[in-house]
Structures are given as C-alpha cells and as structure tokens.
C-alpha cells in the first residue's frame, strides 16, 4: 500500500453530471457580468459627459438677415469673455457648424449666404459658472440673436438617466444572482438525493450535519468558481468585441464609448469569487434544510 495515500473524496466525482449545471451557471454569470460592464460603461460615459457639460456653456449666434456671422461670433466671444466665471472663449468656425449638420444634410456644401448659426463655447468655472440670465443680458442690444444653451438641464437629465441605468443594471445582476442561487439550491438538493447513501453512511458513523453540508458546499463552491471564471471571461471578451466591432466608439459621435477599461479585468476575480460564494451559500442552505427535515 502506498505510504503517501491520500483520502479519497467522500463525494464521488460527477464531472459528467456537473457539466450542464456548470454551463447554466456560466451563462448566468455571463449575463450578470455584461449587465455590470454595461452599467460601468454608462456610468463612466455619463460622468465624462456631465463633467464636460458643467464646464461649458454654448452660445448659438444667429446673425441678422444681412449680418456677418463671423463678426457676430467674434463680438459675442469678446463680450462674454469679460463675464465673471468665464475662463476662456472658443469661437467655432462655420465648418464646425456645418459638421454638426452633416449627419442630417450630408456632405453637400451649404450656400455661403445660408444663415448658419455660429457656435461660441464658453469654458466656465464649474463651481462658479456665470448665470444664464447674465449672459443673455449682455446681448440685449446686439444686432444678432444669441441663444444660450443651458447645459445644466442636460446635465441633470443625463445624471438621472445614468442613475436609472445603473440601478437597472444592479437589479438585473441581483436577479441573475438570485436565479443562479435557485438553480444551485435545486441542484444541491438533487445531488443530496442522488448521494443519499453517502449522507446516510456518514450520519451513521457519527458525522454531524455540518460535516456533510461542508462536503456539498465545497463541491458547489468549486463549481461556482469555475462558472464564474468562464462566465466573466466570456463577458469581457463579448464586451470588448461589441465595443470594438459593432459598438459605439466613433460610429455615432454623440453616444459614449462602452469599451470597458482595464479596470474591467477586476470583474474576473470578483465574479469568480462571488459566483463561488453564492453557489456555496445556496448549497449550504439547501443541504442544511434537507438534512434537518429528511434525516433522523
């Protein structure tokens, strides 16, 4: 007999039977990870947007019927630069205004006399921005019309949307975790029924319930761990592929890029651990309940 004998696992290996369960759990982890990655991307993009909106105010300069748009934009910029809270002024060219219309009008050139509004961007102190009313008062007597885009309204709406998306994703992830826990609990009960001989034999040689529960808990923790790694890895690959191949980066300029950052790699160990933990806890609960109600 070998002197280095190791005790055999008390629960028989059931690799063949575990495979479908592993697949289901990996799919659930995949969905949960996608929800989390999506929420994180939305959050990051929303933060970037709201930060930019809070530090910029846009003036639309609409010249009069015979007015010179370039001169009006220059004058408006000069006037606005004197306001407290304005850090700098950026006068956008006519080409920049045309670029904004390109998705709707195509690449055709507009006639030179087309009254295209010109844009002036005010870079403002986000902590102490000038009041919209104060800006509007500046141009009361101007020969051109000025529309002040109050970005704060956008920022607030965007922040609300971002929070909604975030909570929706968290809810979705929790729902998927709950589904995984229910699947594991069902599988753990089935596994106990199938290995009743083991549980009986262990009970009769004096094993307490926690000993038997520990065996199943360990098995399902490992299963959850494997499912977590597989599901998270697939979700990361899917997120990168979606963002790179069919995603929003550069394709539609006003949508944020959902390309996950390098920090998303952290989802791999986190998902594996959480998946193992959920699997272990639900198996423990199911087996403890089954033992307490089913055996002497």
């Amino acid at each position: 007999m070998s002197q280095t004998r190791r005790p055999a696992p008390l629960l028989p290996p059931e690799a063949g039977r575990d495979l479908p369960l592993l697949t289901v759990c990996a799919i659930l982890v995949f969905l949960a990870c996608l929800a989390v990655i999506g929420a994180a991307g939305t959050w990051r993009a929303s933060d970037a947007w709201t930060g930019q909106l809070a530090s910029e105010i846009t003036l639309q300069i609409i010249p009069g019927a015979d007015g010179d748009g370039e001169a009006a934009a220059q004058e408006a910029g000069q006037l606005a630069s004197g306001l407290p809270g304005v850090i700098s002024v950026e006068i956008r060219s006519r080409a920049a205004s045309e670029a904004l219309l390109r998705p709707w009008l195509g690449r055709a050139s507009l006639p030179d006399d087309f009254p295209l509004p010109r844009l002036v961007t005010l870079n403002v102190d986000p902590d102490d921005p000038p009041l919209v009313a104060a800006i509007e008062t500046l141009f009361d007597d101007a020969a051109y019309r000025v529309i002040v885009d109050d970005n704060q309204l956008w920022a607030a709406a965007l922040a609300r949307a971002s929070i909604t998306v975030r909570w929706f994703a968290i809810g979705l992830a929790l729902l998927v975790c709950g589904a995984a826990a229910a699947v594991i609990a069902f599988a753990a009960r089935a596994s106990l029924s199938m290995r009743r001989d083991v549980a009986d034999a262990l009970h009769l040689v004096g094993a307490p319930d926690r000993f038997i529960t520990g065996l199943f808990q360990e098995r399902f923790f490992m299963l959850g761990l494997k499912a977590g790694i597989a599901g998270a890895l697939l979700a990361l690959l899917a997120a990168f592929a979606l963002a790179e191949l069919g995603g929003t980066a550069g394709a539609i300029f006003f949508l944020p890029s959902l390309l996950p950052g390098w920090g998303a790699i952290l989802i791999l160990p986190a998902a594996a651990f959480l998946s193992g933990l959920v699997a272990a806890l639900s198996a423990r609960l199911a087996i403890t309940t089954a033992l307490a109600t089913g055996w002497t």
Partner: protein
C-alpha cells in the same frame, strides 16, 4: 468453532449501555412492528438477538443505533434518555456505536481502505494516524490483499468483512451486527466471532442479530428472542 465464552468487562458502578422500557415502534401509520420491548444490555455484555424473519430484529437494532425513534416507550443509551436528545447530540452518541449492516452499506466509490477509515476520518483523524491500524485490521479480516479494491468488485463475504472492519475500527463502546456471518464460510465466521469476542473483552458491549443457531450456541451467551415484534424469551444458550 471457538467455544470460549467471552469474559465480559463489567463496571458495577455504571448503568446499562442500552435500556428499553416498554418500547413500541411503527413505521408511519402502519401496525406496530415492535411492541412492549423491555430489556437491558449491561456495559461490556455480549448477547445475541434472534427470531424468525420479520420478527423485528432489524427494527430493534435501528432503534439502538438511532436511525429510528420509538413510537412509544423509553430508550436510554449510556444512561441518557434518547428522546431528550437534540439533533446535534446524535453524532457524538453514534460515534460510540459501531454497526454492521445486513446490506453492508459500503460506499461504492471508496476503496476498502477508505470505507473502513470512514469513522476515523469523520472523527477528524489524519491518514498518518490510522493507516497502520487499518492495514492490520484488514489483514486480520482477510482483506489485506483487497485494500485498494472497490466494493462492487468484492464478493459478498469480502464486503461483509469490510463492513465489520468499518464497524470495529474505532473500538466502539457498543457493537451492533445484523447477520454479520451470513455471507462467510464457517472458518471466517469463527474468525469474525473471535474478533467480536476480543472487542468484548476490551469492554465493548456486543449485540449480534443472527439466525445461525449453531453460531449462537457456540458462544454460550444470553439470547434475546423476538417473535411477532415482541421479546418472547431471554435465555442463556445451552
């Protein structure tokens, strides 16, 4: 057959290892399979339990090793009323009882060595602590060459010996055996009885359920006889 009567270990100050007072038992809502059973197994005693098939022998053994609870009456183990035991108290009591099941109940995915080691493993011992003892015990029961075999590859007699080795490996205070020599040849039956007798000399209370009249007579120990779920006689074999 070994004709030597075991010399029971007795502690006059201790209560009985097992005590039944007017115990009745039924499965579910069925009829009583055991009725008005009262007896004691003194600590260190060696007794047989006999009776025809269906008399209730296995049910009575199941009550002793706490696999069932009585429908009525009182059962005490080592002086403790088992009806007052909490579920968490059962494992500690069960570790003091070794059981040889009629159907062996070996775990088919574990080797003979691992099956026999089960009670020690559950008690928290490491392989290095019990390896030599198990090898010695398996040699004693004639399974030294089958140590790594899986139960499905063993004959009925070999499985029975493995089950006996598992029951005695932790030197239990009570040993209960349900037809432990039913599948072995007479020579091995004598050998196994010597093992039980040796354990009894060391203080283990032994109760063996058997149909084998010759075996029972060979030991010259008290016999409990069940018939129709009732304890009919309690005699010393001639």
């Amino acid at each position: 057959m070994d004709q030597t009567q075991p010399e029971p270990h007795r502690d006059p100050d201790a209560g009985p290892a097992v005590r039944f007072d007017n115990v009745g038992m039924r499965y579910g809502r069925g009829p009583e399979v055991l009725s008005d059973i009262s007896f004691e197994l003194a600590r260190g005693s060696f007794q047989f339990l006999t009776g025809p098939s269906g008399a209730g022998k296995t049910s009575l053994l199941r009550l002793i090793y706490l696999a069932e609870r009585p429908s009525r009456g009182l059962i005490s183990l080592f002086g403790s009323d088992t009806s007052a035991l909490a579920r968490d108290d059962l494992p500690v009591l069960r570790r003091r009882i070794g059981v040889v099941f009629q159907d062996f109940r070996l775990l088919t995915h574990l080797s003979v060595f691992d099956n026999v080691a089960l009670p020690l493993r559950v008690a928290g011992q490491r392989v290095s602590q019990y390896r030599e003892d198990i090898v010695e015990l398996l040699n004693w029961v004639g399974l030294g060459e089958r140590i790594d075999a899986l139960p499905p590859t063993l004959s009925g007699g070999e499985q029975q010996r493995a089950a006996i080795a598992r029951a005695v490996v932790s030197r239990p205070e009570i040993l209960i055996a349900d037809e432990p020599t039913g599948n072995v040849d007479p020579e091995m039956a004598r050998r196994l009885l010597r093992l039980f007798a040796e354990l009894n000399r060391l203080g283990t209370t032994v109760l063996i359920a058997s149909h084998d009249i010759a075996l029972i007579r060979s030991m010259k120990v008290p016999v409990l006889e069940l018939a129709g779920g009732r304890l009919t006689t309690r005699t010393r074999a001639a």
